[in-house]
Symmetry: C2
């Protein structure tokens, strides 16, 4: 399961993306209220996203948050990895957080590893295409034809 922290992050980024045309930073207070996210909890999340170059923060009076990159260059893979860590279901098949499986003797002979590699690849493929741009464009609504 995706954590609430991660889901809040996605919703916050989507909110900022939808309101970035206003050419001003968005307050954490505004996001917290509109998206029903506990304010202090959200602040930590936004700081984390800034530390990973997803957001830019502006301190002081008229401060707030803006996107660090175009919406087409932020996807769900990156957000999930920042907030929840590995997407893979086994340590040994994680690309960004690899660790050997303690319970398995040999990766080469492991019969279940192949299955988890398949799951990882299809999952990453879907999340890679899920950019903030596509998520906000309503493009996915129904099929293209008909």
């Amino acid at each position: 399961m995706i954590s609430k922290r991660c889901k809040y992050a996605i919703k916050a980024i989507l909110y900022i993306a939808r309101h970035q045309d206003q050419k001003r930073p968005i307050f954490s207070t505004e996001i917290a209220e509109k998206e029903s996210i506990p304010k202090k909890f959200l602040e930590g999340i936004l700081r984390d996203l800034r530390n990973h170059s997803i957001l830019i923060s502006q301190r002081g009076r008229n401060g707030g948050y803006t996107l660090h990159r175009p919406t087409s260059e932020i996807n769900l893979i990156e957000i999930i990895r920042i907030m929840d860590g590995p997407i893979a279901l086994q340590p040994c098949v994680s690309l960004k957080y690899y660790a050997p499986c303690e319970e398995c003797i040999s990766e080469k002979d492991c019969v279940i590893r192949k299955v988890f590699i398949q799951v990882r690849d299809t999952t990453l493929d879907i999340f890679k295409n899920a950019t903030i741009e596509r998520l906000t464009s309503d493009y996915g609504e129904g099929n293209t034809a008909e």
Copy 2:
């Protein structure tokens, strides 16, 4: 990530499957030693699998565990669901453990839900084909052609 409990379950079932030709129940002690699983911890897992009709247990002196069904009728979906619960990454897209998303107002208008449905479907498809029969048959080794 898949829990250790779940991984132990998979390994235990695979072990029983590989040794079931001996026409005798397999002891938990044997599985624990050969697969390096803490014995008492394993006992709880095996009991759980029995309660969910994956294994049959025989009590008393020459007791032990056997598979409740042919290996072709046990797949990773079922095992993971028993041990770890939902496979889906959001409550609202889980088939067996559905719950509404607290953070989302409307499932219909939720832009990220569609993505998680895709992930769920491809993941379930892969795990459904990962039966104990196929995992033990070395069939997945390399490609069929070439």
